[in-house]
Symmetry: C3
């Protein structure tokens, strides 16, 4: 038996084995096995899409762009009647997720048309009282029945509330930097309620940015 087998040398056996194995997986051989040698200096591989690249330190350890992230939450503000309210603490308590964002923006959107959100002085409560009365002078109610407003079925405070809402606005956008709202020293988030009766106002908070 020996004499039959020995007509193929062990070296030949080895070479056949090697090429047989590799020939089983030619695409693998080219794309996977050979890949590490394609650009040993750098694995910065240009990709098919025009503006996209993947930085790989080896074929399966790739750098992707920093994690972009969106977060959205709806919540209700404590019920309030007419006045200006500092709600920075309420917002921060509702949105601990802010701390996860290195660079980003917080959008607060109030889903109503007779109140508003703003940024203003965060220290002296007189500023908030003055704001409410100043807005009352700018957009007066029709107390004397002069026919200032057609839309008056819901009370004399209603139409002025809509005008104030248009003037101040339904949303604020605040930069986030290193996990904190990047407001100035004296800036606080204000909720301005323009209706006399207590209202529960709903907010949609949208956080977007680059995560830590």
């Amino acid at each position: 038996m020996s004499s039959q087998h020995t007509s193929i040398s062990p070296l030949t056996t080895f070479l056949i084995a090697a090429f047989f194995l590799l020939s089983l997986f030619p695409a693998t051989f080219v794309s996977v096995l050979w890949a590490p040698y394609n650009s040993l200096a750098s694995y910065y591989i240009p990709v098919a899409a025009p503006r996209s690249t993947v930085l790989c330190s080896s074929p399966n350890i790739c750098t992707i762009p920093p994690t972009m992230s969106w977060f959205q939450k709806q919540f209700t503000l404590p019920s309030r009647s007419r006045g200006s309210y500092l709600i920075t603490d309420t917002i921060l308590k509702e949105l601990p997720e802010i701390k996860n964002y290195k660079t980003g923006l917080l959008n607060l959107f109030i889903q109503h048309t007779s109140c508003a959100l703003s940024l203003n002085e965060n220290w002296d409560e007189d500023v908030r009282a003055d704001m409410s009365t100043a807005l009352d002078r700018i957009v007066p109610e029709d107390k004397k029945g002069q026919g200032l407003y057609r839309h008056d079925a819901e009370g004399s405070d209603d139409m002025p509330a809509h005008v104030k809402s248009a003037l101040i606005g339904a949303s604020v956008t605040i930069p986030i930097t290193n996990g904190r709202l990047n407001t100035g020293t004296w800036q606080g988030i204000w909720y301005l309620e323009f209706r006399d009766m207590k209202h529960s106002r709903k907010i949609v908070a949208t956080i977007q940015g680059e995560k830590n």
Copy 2:
């Protein structure tokens, strides 16, 4: 001939073949062939960049963050003269892409300085008429020639239009949730035209967010 070959045993032949094959591709051996064994429990592979990770269930099946997307479109609003107009339907018709976004924001930006965009009551047209007249009282025209404004070459409605534009604002930002604008029940998108004559106003709409 047999006696020459048999000085190398088949086991030796095999080991030489194996190590020769592997030695051909040492980097592959380490980075590719061995990779699946590095963390069989999880393929959460930390990458070179500080904040980036790729979650792989096998070396070439990797999880990337949810698809972030930007969409931008410019269009012209139907031509209007002075007044307040509800344009929610126009906006939704121009932007069917909103439905593709799970979480996002729509920014509408009007490229003019004597009109404005706002969010306000979407039901009673009296509110829109009242808004226009209320703004006229807040920013009166100089009908009696009192010298209220230096900039009057374009008509008495022009400078008050610029002031109203500054008060109301050139853009609104509205949250998108599950493919819909997440506005309140009574909120509509308003276009306020402050010039007497008909104007065709251009809007830049920017949608950004996480796609469905």
Copy 3:
């Protein structure tokens, strides 16, 4: 010696070698070596996460979504006393990064509560003078001591400045299209200072979008 070895044929040696090699790396065999054959027509590989896909033209050349990017910078505006100022050029000079964004948004946020940012007419300086005096009429100072404001310790210009700040707003959001701010022909970026004395105001600029 020969007769002992030749009991294992070279073919058997080869098969043992091949399967021994492959059995060393079964996971590799399945996931790596075989991967190129899974879908030769397309390497569009669905990934574990619900909404994520990676398009690969080979196992390590993958398409990722267009590069999303955030950029944030803080800077101080030239010091100004009461008035309306066109700051478009200042902003563009501070933010050459705008040109890197194909589609995006610029948010400018002023970290103070007695000044404001706005978009308005960029040509006639009379518009800026008229704006300041018009806002003075809308939110008058208490020159006659009528008790209009409780918060008056910092001067008669202070509380009106807070009200104007609420009316105009602390931030503007401007679309970016093909590396440029997509403002209208007559739109410029305004900084409105409401305090009499010169103030140095800090701005947080946040750019986000899809890069070129």
